[in-house]
């Protein structure tokens, strides 16, 4: 729709058209639509989801409810706060999980940003102080520092459990890992530990999926379970490689040496050397054995 601007001309016509352009532009800048759209597009580029329409719908929903809660939490009275605490927490958790799902952990900077956003979201939950309602009023949001100075332990554990289960890891397999990352319910989890826990769970779910695929490969085209000695031989090479690259110096030669231990030639040798007798190993046992290799190297939170 081309708008013609007339330098002089009849007063009636020329006045209405420039004002119309100005009002539209003014309207857009006042509403902050440019910022909204830019934020949405940036998030979309980071996440690269397969369903752009659904992603944008989710994004705008989240933004809307965050904006609501920001002012709503301050202005509402005591009853609403107490009733809504559980539901509010659940909502924040699901929102934080949505953020954490946006980028894969290999996209390091996007993932770190999302962890930061999720951490900030989760530190806002919990009972807000009564005193905070008065001074801040409807003008701004509530202070983002929760009384504890971190994410509550219970919420942190719940986040990790959700991450593991969404990643396809059965509860029994992830239980030893969560024991290592566990924080007490009442404790306040600082950002570093939160990030460590989230990243470990994300990497662990990838690891378990890989292990499941590996079991299928070791079984081969045969229908039944794989031989025990064969599985142990294969996992043994992984164990050796992890032991070799364990040194704190992280010398390149150690990585090369470790990778030489899991080359196709070495694996062929290990598999050929495995005796055929010795029973079978089912998928669950294989998964647990592989998980144990990973979990043994996770630092316990203390």
């Amino acid at each position: 729709m081309a708008e013609k601007r007339r330098s002089g001309g009849t007063s009636g016509m020329s006045e209405s058209k420039p004002t119309k352009t100005d009002t539209e532009r003014e309207f857009l800048s006042q509403a902050g639509v440019g910022e909204l759209l830019r934020g949405a597009l940036l998030k979309m580029v980071e996440a690269r989801s397969e369903d752009p329409m659904g992603f944008l719908a989710d994004h705008f929903c989240n933004q809307a409810s965050e904006a609501e809660n920001g002012t709503g939490g301050c202005c509402s009275d005591g009853d609403l706060l107490n009733l809504g605490a559980g539901a509010h927490e659940q909502q924040q958790l699901s929102r934080a999980l949505w953020h954490l799902r946006l980028a894969h952990h290999s996209q390091r900077s996007a993932f770190s940003n999302n962890v930061r956003v999720a951490y900030d979201l989760l530190t806002q939950t919990g009972p807000q102080r009564r005193g905070a309602v008065g001074p801040s009023g409807p003008a701004g949001q509530c202070s983002s520092n929760s009384p504890g100075g971190g994410v509550r332990g219970r919420l942190y554990t719940h986040t990790l459990q959700c991450l593991c289960s969404e990643g396809g890891v059965p509860v029994s397999t992830s239980a030893p890992l969560l024991r290592r990352l566990h924080c007490q319910d009442h404790e306040a989890v600082p950002y570093d530990i939160f990030r460590h826990g989230v990243l470990t769970c994300a990497v662990f779910s990838d690891y378990i999926r890989r292990a499941q695929r590996l079991y299928a490969e070791v079984c081969g085209p045969a229908e039944g379970p794989a031989g025990r000695t064969l599985c142990l031989a294969v996992l043994g090479t992984l164990h050796e490689a992890l032991e070799t690259s364990r040194s704190n110096e992280a010398k390149v030669s150690r990585y090369l040496e470790a990778s030489a231990k899991i080359s196709p030639g070495k694996l062929a040798q290990a598999m050929a050397g495995a005796e055929p007798a010795g029973g079978n190993m089912d998928a669950k046992e294989f998964e647990d054995a592989a998980a144990e290799l990973f979990i043994a190297r996770v630092r316990v939170v203390c």
Binding site: I193, L214, S263, A268, F294, V298
Partner: protein, 211 residues
Amino acid sequence: MSVNTVPCTVKPTVTLQIGDAETDSSRPGVYVIDVTLPIGQTVNIQEISFKNYYTAYVSVRLLRRDGEGAAKWTTCLRNHCLMPSPHTEEGSQDYCSVYRQQMLIEPDNVTSVRLILRQPSSAWLNFSVEDIKIHPCLNEDSEWDIPDWLSDLTQVDQLCDLQGLPDPQTVSSSIQQMWALTEVMQTNQTTASIGRFDVDGCYDINLLSFT
């Protein structure tokens, strides 16, 4: 050509000619250049390099110190040809190297090197060699030890007895990814602590007072 050279002194050339040097006006056809190492130092020569300047033939003699300390001159290179035809330009300004393998004797424990230059052609006013450098032997095992695992690499093709076993390539690929994921997790561990004060799960006041 190795970069490291041994510091040595090149003495001025000495001409060898028949008759009296001052009265005889013909140009000499033989020059001798001595290259000495600092007193007390010996070298195991890997290579002698120089730039030729119209020298046709070169002989090299070495002063070697043997076990008892006595020094002996021996010829290690006899009439090595630098210019295929002494009257023509070919090879006249080449950069040359004499290697250990070309020498008649082992050039070890050398204290002095003598280069005997010959140019039978009268076409050239002058001849010599320039920029003489002596390169010592490098120690075999000084810097890098070849690790054992490098010589232990096996190829998949070498093992043909893989019937009934899963494909090593796909299995190896999965194992490598699992290894990489574990390494990612390990390198991103945090050293931060949550700051607990309990001793063995207990917050006993008496225990806390000692921390």
